[in-house]
């Protein structure tokens, strides 16, 4: 593999440059804009494969770059990735072209703007995942909001405005509290040392009295838990998912929610270990409610997309449970499961999008018995479903298994956490398989479905890529887990050392 210098910066800024370039295209050049967008995002993906050179034996930030950005305040452009961000970065670079290729045939209105917004979004996501300076991270974190607001608001469904504004205000509310906390920490650092710095390297070792820590922790957690989203902060998600165009839903579920998980692991936990451990049982409680409640609400949905959206609430609940348990196994599982959820939910949204483009409805009742009419779609849908409910041999199983065993065996963690969470797996099988049955296998009642065309080649190809990734993780999970483990252990060791006590003793 060839080593590209400044690889991370290329990854982060290539999409933004592509977006800027697109704005120079004439507004009517729709085909050219689409092609350019796909080419840029594919180039980013190809480049990102170079990150696989990441050496898990070192388990520290790699591919690092650092240059001063706003010198009087010690704000730097510092980026780097470790095992926790590596797979999420790859997931992002993988899903962006997937989403863009899917929208090739479906987005008709203002294609240039759509593609530019997507590329800008990719810059925001990759920047957030790579940033090792709090100010830099915050800028990327917020930059994601604007293109997503446009993607939902312009190219979305009937209640798109409501959904877009709700998405924006919910996530912004959380982020602004984090902004104050970041400023506060930098000011404290300045008081202690006389220097300004926002870099993680300098701020990580800071310790705060428990009362301050708790407030700061909640400010950070607010930003991340809204994004995850944890119950009861989840209400923006079904609206945003349902109203967003398919490509937007893929990225929302695939990447944006993961940034909440990532932020929690990267910032909230290591910065404020005592507060985080103290809050862990509450987090676990909310996660469990999310699992059970999300599953039950998902079962009751009549709209396919809303069903998948609520399933995300449940699945992300499981991920957060793994983090709350704070064991190496469960946390590694949570990271991997974040990627898994991106793949399987991405595929589900994509296939729902395929059906929607043909019938212009997402109502489950409008379908039924179409397995024989669209056999390829049905097969792919089934595979994505099985991945989502954790069938062994597919990716979902590995992640869920690790989270559940890790939680079950975690010292000082009540066993019933894992037991309740397992019910979520059963429930997910219930609502997702019911969905598959009602859409594909019941008798064909709607005559108009008889002429439903099957999946197109371009759609099939992107979907097949997702399935391949699911199988790869399912069959050879260690290939991926090896990259994660070291960094997770380093993180937990750091958290343990900083709180100067074994984690279970802190509970």
């Amino acid at each position: 593999m060839i080593a590209v210098p400044h690889l991370l910066s290329w990854l982060i800024f290539l999409p933004a440059a592509g977006a800027a370039l697109l704005l120079l295209f004439p507004a009517r050049a729709a085909t050219e804009a689409k092609t350019a967008g796909v080419v840029v995002s594919l180039a980013v993906f190809v480049l990102s494969v170079g990150l696989w050179r990441y050496d898990p034996a070192i388990a520290a930030f790699q591919f690092g770059e650092s240059v001063p950005w706003i010198p009087p305040l010690g704000i730097t452009y510092t980026v780097g990735i470790d095992g926790i961000s590596l797979l999420l970065v790859l997931l992002t670079t993988f899903l962006t072209p997937v989403a863009l290729i899917f929208s090739l045939s479906h987005v008709k209105q203002n294609v240039r703007g759509f593609t530019a917004a997507f590329l800008l979004l990719e810059t925001g996501m990759l920047g957030s995942l790579a940033a090792l300076d709090l100010a830099l991270f915050y800028v990327f974190w917020e930059v994601m909001l604007v293109p997503m607001y446009f993607i939902i608001g312009i190219w979305g469904g009937k209640r798109k405005i409501y959904a877009a504004v709700k998405f924006f205000l919910f996530t912004m509310a959380g982020s602004l509290l984090m902004f104050l906390a970041i400023l506060y920490m930098a000011v404290q650092y300045h008081r202690a040392t006389g220097d300004w710095s926002f870099s993680l390297e300098h701020l990580y070792p800071m310790t705060f009295p428990i009362a301050t820590q708790t407030i700061l922790f909640f400010a950070f957690a607010a930003a991340f838990l809204v994004k995850v989203p944890i119950f009861p902060l989840h209400t923006w998600l079904p609206d945003a998912h349902t109203e967003a165009p398919t490509a937007g839903s893929i990225i929302l579920a695939g990447v944006l929610l993961k940034l909440g998980v990532y932020g929690y692991l990267r910032f909230a936990l290591p910065f404020f270990p005592q507060a985080a451990t103290r809050f862990a049982p509450w987090l676990a409680g909310l996660a469990l409610i999310g699992i059970v409640y999300g599953s039950m609400v998902a079962y009751a949905q009549k709209d396919m997309k809303r069903l998948v959206a609520y399933s995300s609430v449940a699945h992300l609940g499981l991920v957060m449970l793994g983090i709350a348990a704070l064991t190496s196994t469960s946390t590694s599982g949570a990271v991997l499961q974040s990627v898994n959820h991106g793949l399987s939910t991405g595929a589900l949204f994509l296939l729902v999008g395929v059906l929607y483009e043909r019938r212009h409805t997402r109502e489950i009742a409008a379908y039924g018995g179409i397995a024989k009419i669209v056999p390829v779609t049905a097969t792919l849908f089934l595979i994505a479903t099985l991945s989502s409910i954790g069938l062994p041999g597919l990716n979902g199983f590995v992640g869920e298994f690790l989270i559940l065993t890790g939680t079950f065996n975690a010292p000082g963690v009540p066993r019933w956490w894992a037991i309740v969470a397992t019910s979520g797996m059963i429930l997910s099988a219930v609502y997702l398989l019911t969905l598959v049955q009602r859409v594909f296998w019941t008798p064909l009642v709607h005559e108009e479905n008889r002429t439903l065309p099957d999946i197109r080649t371009s759609e099939f190809l992107v979907c097949a890529a997702l399935v391949l990734a699911m199988v790869a993780i399912g069959v050879a999970p260690n290939l991926f887990l090896d990259k994660i483990h070291g960094s997770v252990d380093t993180l937990l060791a750091f958290v343990r050392a900083k709180s100067a006590a074994p984690l279970e003793a802190l509970r």
């Binding site: 507004a27 950005w69 706003i70 010198p71 009087p72 305040l73 203002n110 915050y138 800028v139 974190w141 917020e142 930059v143 909001l145 604007v146 607001y149 446009f150 608001g153 312009i154 798109k160 405005i161 877009a164 504004v165 924006f168 205000l169 912004m172 509310a173 602004l176 509290l177 902004f179 104050l180 400023l183 506060y184 930098a186 000011v187 300045h190």
Partner: protein
């Protein structure tokens, strides 16, 4: 000796003299050579440019018996004022030509001298180290802008704006003068440096004078509860004049507030005064943002948003100190670029100047007028304080200064208000891009000057948003040149 002082004075006043002289020249040209009107904009821009350059070269010593500041602070303020003036002038020409064609006003010639003289007043206000010089500047500016508010003689809204601005403004001026009289009566001097030594802050008479004085300036900044004039005046005033009015006098008045506070308290506003200032800041933020949510007219919306923004800047008054002052300067630069950009876009997007400017008319402009709509959207995002824009940087420094002085709660109020403000800023963006056009007619054709102004503002907003380091250093250097701000 005398001649040396005279040369110093003359050189120190040269920048303002250029502006005033250019204004006189333009007025004469308007009277005797009306055919040259097309060049007025260019001449005014040249004058503003000359003002900025000359201000860089003035002697650092204090001229006119120590009443006129020649420090690096004056250079930086000149940059701010000149920037606002040049951008406004770029917007003004195409806008006024349309107004003349539409029969709203007979000629656009007087606009330029009035604007230039207004700028002279503001320059005197900000550079003035004596309350009388400051008052002179204030009145010079105000008189010009009373007329500019009523510039469209045939528009009822404009006449109303002029009358309202004049009546309330005259009231505020008399408050200021009253305050000056009190302060003079107690301390025996009108020089700000003079009553820095008096240390009689606890004296009720002086305190009353100070409150009167500050009320007058709070009026100019449109801080609540002295804000009520702003929406009506903004709505009726010609848009380019509003662009200038919404930023430049606010900058000058804030500088005066900082100077006066520093002079009286020698860098340490008493806790009671600080509480009062914090209350004004909170009140402005809350009233501005909440009422803006209900606005349907973009100019009124921007007026209330301006009230809220002055609330954010007023946080720095409550914080007080050098870094707070530098933060206020950064905020004002960022706000100037953003707000002038927003009004430039408004001037470019609305066809009929005689009518109101409902937000709904912006529907579909995202595709009809991509540049103006793009800049307006960017400015809305910047006013909302989203990172990578100038607006975020302004808030960043203001909130940082509050946290440094342990006024975390004030920063929190600011943050919550930012969230509320997104409600109406996003609505403008939404109308621009997500609604079908309501008017068969598109926006008027974009003149090259407007295009330039829009591009400058848009790029400026992004440049400050991405690379604020240099601006912060400049603001810090400027704040160090102002006496009595504390450590």
């Amino acid at each position: 000796m005398i001649s040396a002082a005279v040369t110093l004075d003359a050189r120190a006043a040269l920048p303002e003299a250029v502006l005033a002289g250019a204004g006189c020249l333009l007025l004469l040209m308007e009277a005797f050579l009306p055919a040259t009107r097309r060049a007025f904009g260019a001449i005014s821009i040249l004058a503003a440019g000359g003002y900025m350059v000359l201000l860089e070269r003035i002697p650092a010593a204090r001229a006119f018996g120590g009443t006129l500041d020649g420090s690096i602070f004056a250079h930086v303020f000149g940059l701010f004022l000149g920037l606002a003036a040049v951008l406004t002038l770029l917007v003004a020409r195409p806008y006024l030509e349309r107004a003349v064609q539409g029969g709203l006003v007979a000629s656009d010639g007087e606009f330029y001298p009035l604007l230039l003289w207004g700028a002279v007043g503001l320059s005197l206000m900000a550079r003035g180290l004596d309350l009388l010089v400051i008052f002179l500047g204030l009145e010079t500016f105000s008189l010009c802008f009373y007329i500019l508010a009523a510039y469209f003689k045939r528009s009822e809204a404009s006449s109303e704006a002029g009358l309202k601005y004049f009546l309330t403004g005259a009231f505020a001026s008399s408050f200021t003068l009253f305050g000056i009289a009190f302060v003079f009566g107690k301390t025996g001097t009108t020089a700000i440096a003079g009553f820095a030594d008096a240390r009689v802050a606890a004296d009720p008479l002086l305190l009353a004078g100070l409150v009167f004085l500050m009320s007058g300036f709070a009026f100019k900044v449109a801080l609540a509860p002295f804000h009520a004039w702003a929406p009506d005046v903004y709505a009726g005033m010609p848009t380019p004049a509003v662009a200038f009015l919404s930023v430049a006098p606010k900058g000058a008045a804030l500088v005066v507030l900082f100077r006066v506070l520093g002079g009286v308290f020698d860098g340490l506003p008493s806790s009671r005064l600080r509480a009062g200032l914090a209350a004004v800041a909170v009140l402005s933020m809350v009233i501005g943002n909440l009422v803006a949510l209900a606005q349907r007219d973009i100019k009124r919306l921007l007026a209330y948003s301006g009230i809220a923004h002055m609330g954010y800047v007023a946080i720095t008054l409550a914080v007080f100190g050098r870094d707070a002052f530098a933060a206020a300067l950064v905020y004002l630069f960022a706000y100037a670029l953003t707000n002038v950009g927003a009004f430039a876009a408004v001037a470019a997007l609305y066809r009929d100047e005689s009518k109101a400017h409902p937000v709904g008319l912006l529907a579909g402009m995202g595709t009809r007028a991509p540049l103006a709509a793009g800049v307006l959207a960017l400015c809305m995002i910047s006013l909302g304080g989203i990172p990578a824009t100038a607006g975020f940087i302004g808030k960043f420094f203001v909130f940082k200064s509050a946290i440094e002085k342990d006024l975390l709660w004030l920063a929190l109020v600011g943050v919550i208000n930012s969230l509320v403000s997104l409600g109406y800023y996003l609505r403008v963006v939404y109308v621009l891009y997500m609604r079908e056009p309501v008017e068969p007619e598109g926006p008027p054709p974009l003149a090259p000057e407007s295009r330039l102004a829009l591009l400058l503002c848009g790029l400026g907003v992004l440049a400050v948003g991405l690379f604020p380091g240099r601006l912060w250093q400049i603001a810090q250097a400027a704040s160090r040149a102002v006496p009595h701000l504390g450590p």
